[in-house]
Point group: C2
Chain length 189, copies 2
């Protein structure tokens, strides 16, 4: 719903954000300047090993330390799953052979920004992480119940709130918890 | 956490969005251009009358019709609660005498944007709505259970996902539902 119309003009190009404007016809026939942002798309991953989930303890230069899923920006023309695999290897040194798309969301009105959440199963350690100058990351493994507690309490802060809503539902609604458990730990076909 | 540092420079000024950049020192001593967006702050309102909650059925020129709370942009230097009262009167023709702040959230990393959610109680009809050329709005009153179902199913689409998480928790967790019921319907001191 936040897609930018074809006739819109790019009025600013930044590092992360581009700004577009167009003349939008109103209900009374007048026109107004409408404005939308295009943000680089991002991918996040729930990575599992047995019945455990990978959580990152992360620091960035301009923020307090935080807990998060692995994830990052999708480069120009990069396939979203390829970006997820690349980020996982760079940030944690792990790789997964079995992947599925959990959800694809355009979370914010007026911003053209898609977030992909992938599930990667059977994680195995491959190599030392290769971190950017702006990242400090360590890995922690938690159970599903520990994960749902982190999501419910808000301590897992960085992932998209749209996903968090589902994890809070799974904490308090047994059928939702079971559906989530199967998505994360049961072998895909 | 998404606050823009004082030394940042405004590199673009738009209708809704301004763009800021600064040189951020990395962990290894190098510097990179960091970028943040400043978006006009917004206020949303949960408005009640007896044990009912006000929901808007709304149309805008560039979107499908949707269900939402009343709300809108906070004008330059306008007090957030004053903006909430103004928007409520403009959009619905209702006014409330009893107000409280439910939550104040900065929802998106890398975007300086604050959303205020107010609760207005004892709504009374004052006058016909005064709608912008880009709005078509009608009002519907729902019970708390109907409201929680709308939030859980995703049919109430426009309000902030951070708030939706709380409403989903209230649907499935009785103590959270009772705390919400008191916030919405019990007289403030």
């Amino acid at each position: 719903m936040a897609k930018i119309p074809d006739e819109a003009k790019k009025v600013f190009e930044g590092v992360i954000f581009d700004v577009y404007q167009w003349q939008q016809k109103m209900f009374d026939g007048t026109a107004q300047t409408f404005e939308r942002i295009k943000r680089v798309n991002t991918a996040e991953m729930i990575v599992t090993q047995g019945d455990l989930i990978l959580i990152q303890e992360e620091q960035q230069p301009d923020r307090e330390p935080f807990l998060t899923f692995p994830g990052g920006r999708i480069e120009n023309d990069e396939d979203p799953l390829a970006a997820a695999k690349r980020e996982l290897l760079e940030e944690t040194g792990y790789a997964c052979d079995r992947w599925s798309l959990y959800r694809e969301v355009m979370p914010i009105v007026k911003i053209d920004w898609t977030v992909y959440l992938f599930v990667g199963q059977d994680a195995r350690w491959v190599q030392d992480p290769h971190l950017d100058a702006g990242e400090k990351i360590s890995v922690r493994w938690v159970t599903l119940d520990e994960f749902l507690d982190l999501a419910d309490s808000g301590k897992l802060t960085y992932f998209l709130e749209q996903f968090r809503t589902e994890f809070v539902r799974a904490k308090y609604h047994a059928p939702s918890r079971e559906a989530l458990r199967q998505k994360l730990f049961t072998a895909s076909p």
